[in-house]
Symmetry: C2
Subunit: 408 residues, 2 copies
């Protein structure tokens, strides 16, 4: 890919994505094989006036060996460096840039129970840090092609070509293929904002999903909780774009109010394991049964992470005619695939969707119906014939989606 | 390079190099481009019973950008994570594996004054941690070919071939090319120990260096301070091999007693800058003048790091007929080049060479004549015609080296 276009993409991530403030530090999660692009992002951070830029490099190879060979107690125990990092992030509030490039099959063969045990223990140890910094810093996830990921998306191409093709797809779906990402995002963000404004004006109390694939699900909504899309403002008043790309208008539903069954329409890559062709059955808000043609163990492990991980945390509306779906590609990566079609998420809801959320404690907001969990796992349910009908607080039925796309 | 040989080399580093103890943790310094071999070392650490294996990845690209773009005050300031790491290393005493693979020219163009400022500030901040863990853990430095390093050593070869050739040279000089590294090192270590025993029996009070290249230098030694070579025992009673390869018998000279001039016989790669064809003039132990045909700024920056950085910390004896010299290669890497020929080091001496050093404070040992400094920079002075003559405490002259090789 042309270096000038990549530099512009790095610029989009730093200037619009996290919108780094002069004098702020940046914390970057990246992977070894995408060193070149990561270096461009680091350089752009300094150009934007970053104080410190700290990169944490993940080696999928070393991670896999560690997960295999280490005792789960040793994996779960944390070092003083882990704790210092959490504390530094709370005290300094650096923006977080997460560059996703992983092999969707990279963790195949690893005991999912062990992975879940470690996640749980670490979440427990660091929960207070996570809560205390929530909604206080800007963050952004963006995609960068790794070789194994590119080969998964384009199995018939050679490595180098596959990477080039995945770059093309990433830049196209991220509205960065013409080098004008920052301006394109300003326009796109205004569109998403207008749709959310309309949705919020309806005062919906539930959504009903129906498709010929078998989906038949009703989800309750929480009075006052908003639909959000595109950019967000954190508690420091900084506006940022958490996901590049992003096509969704999303909300957090009422915990305990989900009835029916929903069928996945795309595979889900979870902790490096692919889960394919699955359904989830809900009763009184809880996923009480699941089935997957592939990866069912990983799917079940999602539900048992903690008390809230079997309840819904998100309903996201994405037209079937999205740029991502129009590529005709399956990305095997949630950031992209979730923006291809309507999706739901199991697990944690978004407390910042509650009106004046900063005036309430976390516990209060959860008591209003926003689900609490350490995990948050999106899965795709959008299809060509998906209809979504909203019911308003005063009982009117409103067409939200017809045949997979916006009805308004 | 064959994977089986590389696995054996990883085994040598973990089992003989740091001799990791069951239940001990390991701290690995590595570089992004040598992920595959690093993963082998990580796996071997777990096989040896490591509790935690923590890898700190260096990206030369990001480091260079950071050094260029960051203010020196921001670079010098440390994060809570830096301090937590120092504290963890003091508390847990993990063994340290340092895999060296860097481009010898990788830091070309970076302001050496800035680099020195940052090193000084960090050393000051962490000095107490460094002192408190000294001689308490096992450590080992070993070489792994990076692409730029390989191309520097074999400029006429293509990248892949150059890496293969450098692997051959590293495994040959590390006595690991036949897959029997561990047994080979046991034998080699016994040889070095016998030479040191003889040197220590002589009770030398000075060494005189002379060569046709102009070298004419006398260095005073400290009564009782020993020559050491090969493996070392730390204060926990763990025996380990700090350098793979290692051909030297070395001691720390008397601070203040060096007179004359010494000419370098190989280039010195310092902080990613090559220093070529240089001499150093000593008076009353101090380097009072230097000249280099290339890299003189970097050479001068070594002398001004702190009060002790212009004094000698090490005299190392290595025969000109060493395996490394016999390859005919210049490695542009101190670990290898210092084991090709006799060398001296400017800066810190080795306190553990003083008899019963654990019974004295650091300050006391320095007052006995072992130099103190934050830096320690080796440079090569061995040549084909180098003669070294020792003078004993009772005035006898003993031939130590004749024509570049051991005289005994």
């Amino acid at each position: 890919m042309k270096k000038t276009l990549l530099k512009k993409y790095a610029e989009l991530i730093v200037r619009s994505g996290v919108a780094l403030k002069k004098g702020q530090s940046a914390f970057i999660l990246s992977e070894l094989e995408i060193e070149d692009f990561t270096a461009m992002v680091v350089e752009e951070c300094y150009r934007a006036g970053a104080k410190k830029v700290i990169v944490y490099w993940n080696s999928p190879k070393v991670r896999k060996i560690t997960m295999k060979k280490s005792k789960k107690e040793d994996l779960a125990s944390f070092t003083p460096m882990d704790e210092a990092l959490m504390k530094w992030r709370c005290d300094e509030l650096p923006c977080l840039i997460s560059l996703t490039s992983s092999d969707p099959d990279g963790m195949k063969g690893i005991d999912m129970g062990k992975v879940a045990y470690v996640s749980r223990a670490r979440y427990k140890a660091f929960h207070s840090y996570i809560e205390s910094s929530e909604n206080k810093y800007q963050w952004c996830i963006a995609g960068v092609p790794g070789a194994a990921w590119a080969k998964k998306v384009f199995p018939d191409l050679k490595k180098k070509q596959a990477i080039e093709k995945l770059w093309e797809a990433i830049l196209y779906t991220s509205r960065a293929d013409d080098g004008n990402g920052i301006a394109n995002w300003e326009k796109h963000d205004a569109d998403l904002k207008a749709r959310c404004q309309y949705l919020n004006s309806l005062r919906l109390k539930s959504l009903h999903y129906e498709s010929k694939n078998g989906t038949n699900l009703t989800v309750g909504l929480i009075p006052g909780v908003i639909f959000l899309g595109g950019g967000e403002e954190n508690l420091k008043g900084h506006y940022y774009q958490p996901n590049i790309p992003s096509e969704e208008c999303f909300t957090s539903p009422m915990k305990g109010e989900a009835e029916g069954i929903v069928y996945s329409t795309k595979p889900l890559s979870y902790n490096g394991v692919l889960i394919k062709n699955f359904w989830v059955k809900f009763h009184e808000g809880k996923a009480i049964d699941v089935h997957a043609e592939e990866g069912e163990e990983a799917l079940r492990s999602i539900l048992t992470m903690d008390e809230g991980s079997a309840y819904l945390g998100e309903c996201a509306l994405v037209p079937f005619d999205s740029p991502i779906n129009n590529t005709g590609l399956l990305f095997y990566n949630t950031l992209f695939d979730e923006n291809a079609a309507c999706h739901l998420a199991l697990g944690r809801g978004f407390t910042n969707l509650y009106p004046n959320y900063e005036q309430y404690s976390e516990d209060e907001i959860h008591s209003f119906g926003i689900n609490q969990s350490m995990s948050h796992v999106d899965f795709m349910i959008g299809s060509e014939d998906l209809n979504i009908t909203g019911t308003t607080e005063d009982g009117r039925e409103i067409a939200i989606f017809r045949n997979g796309n916006w009805a308004f």
